[in-house]
Amino acid sequence: MNIQMPRINRVPFFFKNQNLLIQCGIIFFIIITLTTLIGPFIVPNDPLTANMSERLAPPSSAYPLGTDHMGRCIFSRLIVGAQSTLGITALVVATVALIGIPIGLVIGYIGGRLDTVFMRVADGILALPEFILAIAIAGFLGPSLTNLMISIVFVKWIAYTRVVRSIVITERNKDYVQAAKVGGSSNWKIIRRHMFPQIVSPVLVLATLDIGKVILTISSLSYLGLGAQPPAPEWGAMLNDGRPYFQSAPELMIYPGLAIFFVVLAFNLMGEGLRDKWDVKSR
């Protein structure tokens, strides 16, 4: 008898055959994304409505995580705040990649004096600690979410340019690039067809790992009062709001802190997993 077993394929393709780190990261990531997208529609309370008679209330059925010092629902604020924290992060990382990658490709490929000048400037910027520079720029531009994003993009894109540039420099002298030149390919085509595929996986790893750092930077800057302005809910700003009540009501800081912790963890797990997967010599 010859019975053909139906192929069971219930596990989605992006989940199958991945290592444990990526799997954990993906689970976290899906939960976070769903919360961010659907969350604001199903939160029990309006995140901005203050109710002074219910200040610092303990968890109850009306307020799942209790209320803050203004009587606002912490749970609702956390979920709505995810949108601004994660939305800004995604926007920042995307912008940084869009600026950093093309510059890295071009200066790495052309090299010479352009490259030298450029990298000295980059070294100059990198000589200052990233975070302090971001504080300085955000402070100079004035506190708002847009300025916060500008300042982070300004200090972050250099890292991407450097990574891309160093890969392009090692690749551009290999025989297959010479062969493409002999075969009549233009420089633009060589960058597009031969250089770009080489940088995709390292940059994806870098971006995934960076998301965690960017969330921390946004939250830290908001904590310092340079980012989201009250009463808008944002995790870092919530931490900042809770600071005066740290001793009497530590949960005001614990909940947003845990939220940041888990999101950063999720992206770092994914990043580490992707790195393990892609950093093998022959793919």
């Binding site: 297959y176 062969a179 031969h194």
Partner: protein, 266 residues
């Protein structure tokens, strides 16, 4: 067709090439022999226009290769292709191999090589024909370089070299990264293609037997100097330069050793 006029090239104040001249006629094969470091690969790169000589000129079909600008150079390069030594490095590891093979054809939409007349409109079909031409199964089209053997990769590099039906194919040690048995296959393939397509070869190698098999004339390089130049049938003549004699002797010794070992094992 190709005239190299007394070119010199210096790397880090060490002369790599010193006053080299040579001529390749249409359909003719010239072998360049020398040990590693003798400047033979540099010569190949200069002839392809990938590098500039410090002095001297390279004329290909009446044009000075190193004074041409982008468009004219591109037009000329169509007739001037290469097969590199390291088959692993000469193919992009992130591309399926057939894309590497047809890349030159994308860059020259007007060129219609004789053996691709019927399929010129279809990239995949062209790759198939080219694979057949170098004796590879079309099953390998979608493979990536690391999924292929050295011999297969070198055949693919050869296929890319002939896609535009060039006049001159520079082979920079095309067999030295391969096993002995595969070397013979690739050499036979090159020989056959030369006949079919009326190619000229500039065959750069340190393997005297391979050059003897492939070429009509041989130039011997030593430390950037062309010390000897002769017709292949005169390889064993008494009037050869002492350095040529030494190289021949060394390669004979090696062959004898291999034969002895074979005797030992069988």
């Amino acid at each position: 067709m190709l005239h190299v006029n007394s070119i010199s090239k210096t790397y880090h104040s060490k002369p790599a090439l010193n006053d080299i001249s040579l001529t390749v006629q249409h359909g003719e094969s010239i072998g360049i022999i020398g040990e590693s470091g003798s400047g033979k690969s540099t010569l190949g790169k200069i002839i392809l226009g990938l590098d500039k000589p410090d002095q001297g000129e390279v004329h290909f079909r009446g044009n000075n290769l190193h004074t041409l600008n982008g468009k004219a150079l591109k037009k000329l390069r169509r007739q001037l292709q290469i097969v590199f030594q390291d088959s692993a490095g000469s193919l992009n590891p992130k591309l399926p191999v057939w894309k590497s093979v047809v890349e030159p054809l994308e860059n020259y939409p007007d060129v219609i090589p004789s053996f691709l007349k019927e399929v010129r409109h279809n990239r995949k079909k062209m790759a198939e024909v080219l694979f057949q031409k170098v004796g590879l199964s079309p099953e390998l089209l979608e493979r990536y370089p690391h999924q292929l053997s050295g011999g297969q990769k070198q055949r693919i590099a050869v296929a890319r070299g002939i896609t535009l039906e060039p006049d001159l194919l520079v082979c920079d040690e095309p067999t030295s990264s391969l096993d002995v048995s595969v070397q013979a296959q690739v050499l036979n393939l090159l020989k056959k293609l030369q006949k079919d397509l009326n190619l000229s070869f500039l065959f750069i190698s340190h393997d005297i037997a391979a050059v003897q098999f492939m070429c009509e004339r041989i130039v011997v390089l030593k430390e950037g100097l062309a010390v000897d130049s002769f017709l292949t049938e005169d390889l064993f003549s008494q009037s050869r330069h002492p350095y040529t004699k030494l190289l021949v002797e060394m390669s004979m010794e090696q062959e004898n050793k291999i034969e002895e070992n074979q005797h030992f094992y069988t």
